[in-house]
């Protein structure tokens, strides 16, 4: 019984590591770039879109996993798309009703979540082949991985391009967040490029490069460790 739980725990950890790092949808799969690049001129926008995307991902993964044995493979893609489109529209309507101002700011990018390939990709590659519990873990960590990139990118671009951090946080957190904005000293000259579209591409490129650099460093240390163990057998 305990080994079964251990196995499950191991699986969850594996899924989490893939979602956050090894198969990060934004840095490795490069999916969902259109909204990712467009709204990350500000940390709060990035966080808002990240959370909305995660909600859609969670809904679609759960539903797809639940029906995976009952849908013939010929029509699975249209059915997945119907589920995703439905989830996005529901979340769009709920945000419109309960986060009115934030919904206004994120504008077209909320309905556009439906075109985020990451969501269909998780439905097809993971949820349609795995039980509900694993699909939930997968949706959560893929979502967190995507949201983290949105936040880092948004913070980077806002800081460089606008000289602030967490500007307009009240849109997401309400009136308590009125004074959360951090301003750089006035002597700092904002670099407009960072909040313009080219800045988005450059910043994302740098983030991807940084990730690859870390991966290479890790690989090197493991590679130098292996020969010592391998040599005697060869």
């Amino acid at each position: 019984m305990s080994s079964l739980w251990q196995q499950k725990w191991q699986d969850y950890q594996d899924i989490a590591q893939k979602g956050l790092w090894n198969n990060n949808q934004a840095l490795v799969a490069l999916l969902g770039l259109c909204p990712l690049l467009a709204v990350t001129n500000n940390t709060v926008n990035g966080l808002g879109l990240g959370l909305a995307t995660m909600a859609v991902l969670l809904t679609s993964n759960i539903l797809v996993s639940l029906i995976r044995d009952h849908v013939p493979s010929e029509i699975r893609i249209p059915v997945f798309i119907a589920i995703i489109a439905c989830a996005v529209t529901v979340i769009d309507m709920l945000m419109h009703a309960y986060f009115y101002t934030l919904h206004g700011i994120l504008g077209i990018f909320i309905p556009l979540i439906v075109t985020n390939c990451a969501i269909l990709a998780r439905a097809e590659a993971f949820a349609s082949k795995n039980p509900v519990d694993k699909s939930i873990v997968d949706a959560l960590f893929i979502g967190i991985g995507f949201t983290l990139v949105l936040i880092v990118l948004g913070a980077l671009r806002e800081l460089i391009g606008n000289g602030t951090l967490f500007d307009q946080a009240w849109l997401l957190f309400g009136d308590v967040a009125q004074n959360w904005t951090i301003h750089l000293p006035d002597s700092y000259n904002p670099v407009m490029l960072a909040i313009l579209p080219p800045g988005a591409f450059i910043a994302l490129g740098l983030l991807i490069a940084l990730k690859n650099l870390v991966d290479q460093k890790v690989k090197k240390t493991t590679l130098t460790a292996i020969p010592v163990e391998v040599k005697p057998t060869s």
Binding site: A38, P72, T89, M93, I105, G107, I108
Partner: protein, 207 residues
């Protein structure tokens, strides 16, 4: 035998897809039916606050929300639909108007505007009600992003200054946004046409 299985499979698939569509549509209708009133309520609350931003309360003493009428002016207001006009009065005398208008030529669809005009033709204020312009570029027409929309305050429209109602790139008085000229251009044109309409109609709009 094979054809029967094939047609059965196809029928089953079609039926399942139909079922999914019906369930999805049902869910959407249900969610819509309970979010719609909530959205309408939030919109009305925001509307009340916005009305007072474009027509400061010290200039009138009637019930602005109640003193409302509909006007249809496709050329000036950017839509064939009737649009609401709120009439502000001070002790019964015309003090100003608050008009909803649409800039139909925004970068990404219609830009809904609310503008206050004093009885003497000066603009009391302009605010954006809703838009789908590009975040970070065109959305500087919102007051919470930029002060640009305040550059309308106190302006009048006369024959002599009509050409100054444009962005600087078009040799007008208004700043444009980096990376988004279409948006401010659309807003300026909408305000200009609406103000022209208000000036032409004069006191008739208070009746």
């Amino acid at each position: 035998m094979k054809t029967t299985t094939l047609s059965t499979t196809m029928l089953r698939a079609a039926g399942l897809m139909g079922l999914f569509v019906v369930v999805s549509v049902g869910l959407l209708v249900a969610v819509n039916s309970f979010t719609q009133p909530k959205i309408a309520e939030v919109e009305r609350q925001v509307m009340l606050n916005t009305l007072n931003q474009v027509m400061p309360t010290r200039y009138y003493n009637n019930n602005l929300i109640e003193d409302m009428t509909w006007v249809t002016a496709p050329d000036a207001l950017g839509t064939t639909q009737p649009m609401p006009i709120y009439r502000a009065r001070l002790d019964g005398e015309p003090a100003g108007l608050v008009i909803e208008t649409i800039a139909p030529d925004g970068y990404s669809g219609n830009i809904h505007l609310l503008m206050g005009v004093f009885a003497d033709g000066r603009i009391a204020g302009v605010r954006v009600l809703s838009h789908r312009e590009t975040p970070g570029l065109g959305d500087k027409i919102e007051l919470r992003k930029d002060n640009w929309i305040l550059s309308f305050n106190g302006r009048q429209l006369t024959k002599d200054n009509a050409h100054t109602w444009a962005v600087k790139r078009d040799r007008g008085d208004f700043e444009q946004f980096t990376g988004a000229t279409i948006t401010p251009r659309a807003v300026i044109n909408a305000v200009k046409h609406t103000l022209d309409y208000v000036n032409l109609q004069g006191v008739r709009l208070y009746e």
